[in-house]
Structure formats: structure tokens, C-alpha cells
Amino acid sequence: MANLKEVRLRIASVNSTQQITKAMKMVSAAKLKRATDAITQMRPYANKLKEILANLSASLEGSASVFATEREVKNVLVVVVTSNRGLAGAFNANAIKTANLLIQNKYAAHRNNGTLHILAIGKKAQDFYTKNRMNVIGNHNELFNGLNFETSTRIADVIMKGFEEGQWDRVEVIYNQFKNAAVQILTTEQLLPLAKTESAAASKQNTDYILEPSQAEIVEELIPKSIKIQLYKALLDSYASEHGARMTSMDKATDNAGELLKSLRLSYNQARQAAITNEILEIVSGANALSAQ
């Protein structure tokens, strides 16, 4: 039978753990709300931008923008979006696993040549890739303390500048897309060069716009914007996913702690009862021994 004091200590520690997981769940729920709000705020802008761009590039096939030009893939940049903090279930592990799979399948040769670059967003990815001695070109851990378009733009600028200067010929982003609080979809997206998929779908809408200054110049101006938005969307999605994942895993942890407490209380009561029974037995047999004399 378990020691009474030991069980009592366990109960106290499980209890305080449960309080922590419960608090973390609540914090994540609040942050999740804010993150999903940010996504909804961003969506009208993103949709409109996409619409305008699609309208314009429908008739503009051979766009001269650097960002839309395919080049021979000599250098690759993989952007891995994770979180700064753990305790979010398999959230970070999944993102890193997917990134590794991508690298193994598509860019194994680049990795061996040292032409594979990693941009780690979030401490978890940074820790992993620096430990594995990969070519980490930067980290942006501070990003998630107050994620907004401006901070995300700074990273997008670095990525686009590097692409323009030929530091890398292809940029892929790996992140957890937010579906709902319990479900994250791991997504791999090609950020650069810009994939041309929208043009076909939008060509049906044909309004004669006055274009100022000119179609090519507007497209030139809009493409970087849409890249920035794409990255921002990935970051927001990942942020929302992180808190969704943490919320569900902390909810489970709280439940588990509850179960554990239940069984601990049972064995505590059993031990207590056994001790009482023992004591009574001792007293009774002691009294019996006395009266028998």
C-alpha cells in the first residue's frame, strides 16, 4: 500500500500541474481568438489584391517581373515556420518533419553542396537546424511578440532582396495552415518564383479599366505586395495553428491530470482507510490482550 504522505505530495503536485495546463489553455484560447481575428481582417485585402492582380495579368502573359521568372534552381531557401514555445502537441515536430521530408526528396543534392539555406522562423526550428548544422541564414524569434504586417514585411523584404540578387533561385515556405482549433494542415508553398495559376480562372472578368501608370508597372508594383501578403498569411495561419494546437493539447493534459487525480485520490483514501483499520485492530487486540489477563 502506498505511503500516505507520498500520495498526498503527488496529489498536490498533479493539482498544481493541472492548474498550469488549465491556465495555458485559457491563454491560448484568448490568443487564438486574436489570431483568427487578424486572419479575418487580412482576408478582404488579400482577396481584393488577388482579384486586381488576376484581372491585370490575364492579358499580360510574359510578365517581365523578376519575381515571376523561373530560373535554374541552384540555391534554395526553405522557410520553416514554427513557434517559439513548445507544449503544443506535435505542432513543431510536424512542421520540422515535413521540412526535412521536402529537403530529402527534392533538395538532397543542394543540401550536400551547401546551397540549401534555411530561414527559421520561431525558436523551435532555429534550435533544430542550428543543432543539425544546416545553413541557417537568419532567425526571427521576436516576430511572434506582436505579429503584424509590418514585421512580416521586413522578412519578406529580406527574402525578395535575396531572390533578386540571386542568393537563392527558389523559396519554399512550410507552415501549419489553420483549419480549426483542433486541425492544422501542414502546407508547403512555393513563395518564389511566383506560381502562375490565377490567371486562367480570372480571365472571364473583363472590365476596361483605365490603368495608371501602365499595366506592366502596376503589375510590377503589385507582385511584391502579393508576395508579402502570402508570407503574412502563412505567418498568421501558423500563429493561429500554434495556439489551436496548444489549446487542444493543454485541454487533453488537463483532462489527463483530472484522471490521474481521481486514481490518486482513490489510492489515498484506500491507504488512509487501511491505516485506520490497522490502528483499530491494534487497539482492539491490545485491549483484548489486557482483558484476557
Binding site: Q41, E217, I218
Partner: protein, 82 residues
């Protein structure tokens, strides 16, 4: 006409207006009711919104404007606070 001013972070303005003046790349211009469809890029500058309730001014960094059938959408990269 209906005007929406959007940034990626939030919707800055949405409502019925009589005119809006924007800092186009090729010079500032004003959009009135029944303006022809136009798409233009915008520079850093002031967006002057006139409505029944008075005049409001927003300072934006670069952006783009689309006018279509009395629906004006200004996509601003960010809003500059004074």
C-alpha cells in the same frame, strides 16, 4: 459611392462618401461619383475622404486603388499615424 480603405492589419474606413482624393503615382487625383473604372498605384501621401459628415484624412504608405461601378477600394500597405 461606396469607399473601402483596407490594410492587411485592418479595415480603416468603410462607408458612403461623396468624393475621395488619392495620391496617384502619376499625380494626385480625385474620384467622384460615376467615375470610369480605373486601377492606379498610389504613393505615400494623404487620402482625403469627403462625406456628408465632413472631411477625413488618412496618410498611407504605398498602395493601389480600384474604382468600379461606384465602388472604390483603396488597398494601402500601411497607415501612417501622425
Amino acid at each position: 459611392m461606396q469607399l473601402d480603405i483596407l490594410t492587411p492589419d485592418k479595415k480603416i474606413f468603410s462607408g458612403e462618401v461623396t468624393s475621395v482624393q488619392v495620391p496617384g503615382t502619376k499625380g494626385s487625383f480625385e474620384v467622384l461619383n460615376d467615375h470610369a473604372p480605373i486601377i492606379s498605384t498610389l504613393e505615400k501621401g494623404n487620402v482625403k475622404v469627403k462625406s456628408k459628415d465632413g472631411v477625413e484624412i488618412f496618410t498611407i504608405s504605398s498602395g493601389v486603388i480600384e474604382v468600379l461601378k461606384n465602388k472604390v477600394t483603396v488597398l494601402a500597405e500601411s497607415l501612417i499615424q501622425e
